[in-house]
Symmetry: C2
Subunit: 407 residues, 2 copies
């Protein structure tokens, strides 16, 4: 039985994801697809549009067999840590390969780049440092350093977020000597951040979310870009929880936290370094909303996503003291949903799992899962009552989603 | 020139306050009335119905000449600390006497009770301890102890909140050897907590607030119980800031704070003792609103007001570490408003003030005022935008209110 691993956020699941899923399955002739998915807060430092349960439902409906939650300690994180957590999880789940989308769809440049960077590591690090000293953000400095390192030899453009992530996936697998095999297929259409809906059926998740919020949660405009099951999960979510999640919902809480905490307290928060706490307090005091706050906060030194991740950690009150010990590898994986084939797969592999799989929160007492529980609670606090209590109940009381076989 | 001191909250200023003000002035034939008033959070652990600026306006319109803010370190506090801060302030402001309302209007029982308690202190303390061990709250234990101490000798009923406060005012003045002279006059009608509006023109502030919230901020029902200027300030407040303040407005912030903080963080908050942090987290997780939260939290061991004060300190993130050094005596007083007579008085006494009087925040850099600034900011966060920003602006940029003489 061949198992394919995917690293996903499905925010929300759309036709591009569907294409990637089907095509990747074909390429390795997979029997089982396992997705490791960010929970309430995503890699780019944003609350997910809808709960992990709703997103797991979309994934299952589209043919994923097992959906696991990437722990909070690895989700709203820079590419390196995010990739380390996700690829470790897929290796632990005994996937044969993982497959990510890339600009040119060839794995060779990633492998060669990995080996090049290993060889010339010292040189590369020195160049990165130099470019950061000049006031560039880390991703920009890394991309500049890389392009100076070996001009035009490889086609890998490391200024593209998808290539950076892909590179980190490959690095996580190779540097740890994992059995899991890295694969990539060519992405179709839509750049990562394209904001407008295109004319064909593939739009970026960013464009889809923008259209949803612009139209006050009317989802008819996006029906050409998402699967029917995604449309139906989106509609159900609005019916059940009243609204989709975005940063503006959490702004009153974030502002309150920033205004009530001392600078010393903010400094204890994960990723808050170099005096940015003072800048954050200044910006929050005068901002009317999250967008205005971010605009006031942004400098060349920090990427937008890094600043947003800082905000996630402040919002969830996640400290350095808590996070740093958790950052080796995931020590548990929470199962969100499964198909009957997924259930069979787990049954056959269970004995050899290197870490516990959690299917009910109440049966897992390890303190390491606390940041996930807190993040889920705070994610729910963005909703009004009674939706808030309903989402908390879903999180803490309801079982794993079981997808009936289509038969 | 004779100066009368009053300890007030004016939440809001009503006919009973007006009666007390006029009558007290007559009794000592005062030229000047100075009020020391709680800021955004009140002695009983509640957000004030409207800002300190609006309440200062009511006071000035009714004939108070100087309104000062009782610092946060003394306001949401048990009677002893509240009284210590307030009476120290009135002594510092060189008032000749202070006058409080009491059930029977005679100062003699207070003085005698004070001396009795001084004499029999050890015995009294032992009785209080005994009753607390039996599971009674402090006020209840103190009242029981007192009644056993000297049966029927004095008419002072120490189970009444007003008598407890009066006793603490007297104690603060006498035990510190202050020059200021304690006086009391008989309160008219309306018990402290009466919830229904009575038929005559005197209602409790509790009944007035209840009527305001019950009628969705319509203030026509209460116009018979408040002065015309109070009515007009209330109407202006709704026009300017959209709503009056109550605990329910702050519930989303309080819940968020309780759910995101660790038990260890809550334990650092002032007044959080004896493991109550776990009970608070439990109660918050399941409550839909502040009323439900308080109902779940209440036990015989803690009074309602003590629990509410804990909530204020959690909301404002006020720690033991900050508060304990501030609790000697106020080290500054912030001027909120003055009449021309008040301004004259200050001019003549300024040189002999033992502590600084702050009339502009920006000109006073002492860190001791930080809890007041934070409390004012968080008080504003209860409002929606743009009201929130307007109230912050009022707090930080606008000057002291100057009441024109009625001429």
């Amino acid at each position: 039985m061949k198992a394919l691993g995917l690293v996903v956020e499905y925010n929300p699941f759309h036709n591009g994801h569907s294409y990637h899923l089907q095509k990747s399955k074909e390429v390795i002739n997979a029997d089982i697809v396992i997705a490791i998915m960010s929970g309430p807060f995503l890699q780019r430092g944003e609350p997910a549009l809808l709960s992990k349960w709703a997103r797991a439902k979309m994934a299952l409906a589209a043919g994923v067999d097992l959906v696991f939650e990437l722990p909070y300690a690895f989700a709203p994180q820079k590419a390196e840590i995010f990739a380390r957590g996700a690829i470790f999880a897929l290796e632990a789940l005994q996937c044969d390969s993982f497959c990510f989308g890339s600009e040119n769809g060839r794995i060779q440049p990633f492998l060669e780049t990995y080996h090049l960077l290993q060889e010339k590591q010292d040189n590369y690090q020195a160049l990165v440092k130099k470019h950061m000293k000049e006031g560039n953000s880390y991703p920009r400095a890394a991309s500049l350093a890389f392009s100076e390192l070996e001009k035009n030899l490889y086609a890998l453009d490391l200024s593209k977020p998808n290539n950076i992530l892909g590179m980190e996936y490959v690095k996580a697998a190779l540097s740890n000597g994992f059995k899991i095999k890295p694969l990539t297929i060519k992405r179709v259409q839509a750049g990562y951040h394209d904001a407008a809906l295109p004319e064909n059926s593939i739009a970026s998740a960013t464009a889809i979310r923008k259209s949803i919020f612009d139209s006050k949660s009317n989802i008819s405009n996006i029906s050409g870009y998402v699967t029917d099951s995604t449309s139906s999960v989106l509609r159900d979510y609005i019916r059940e929880y009243g609204q989709f999640h975005n940063w503006e919902m959490y702004w009153p809480l974030l502002k309150y936290r920033v205004m009530s905490a001392s600078a010393a307290e903010l400094r204890k928060i994960y990723e808050i370094e170099e005096g940015i706490e003072y800048r954050i307090q200044q910006a929050a005091a005068h901002a009317l909303n999250f967008a205005g706050f971010m605009a006031a906060l942004k400098t060349k030194r920090y990427t937008w996503t890094r600043l947003q991740r800082m905000c996630v950690h402040i919002l969830t009150n996640t400290t350095k003291e808590e996070m740093i010990p958790l950052q080796g590898n995931p020590t548990y994986l929470r199962l969100l949903g499964m198909s009957s084939a997924g259930r069979e797969y787990l049954r056959s592999k269970k004995k050899h799992m290197p870490i516990p799989l959690v299917s009910r929160l109440s049966s897992f007492g390890s303190p390491e899962i606390r940041p996930d529980i807190r993040a889920a609670r705070i994610y729910a606090l963005g909703l009004m009552e009674p939706y808030q209590s309903m989402l908390m109940k879903r999180e803490f009381e309801a079982p794993v989603i079981i997808e009936k076989s289509p038969s």
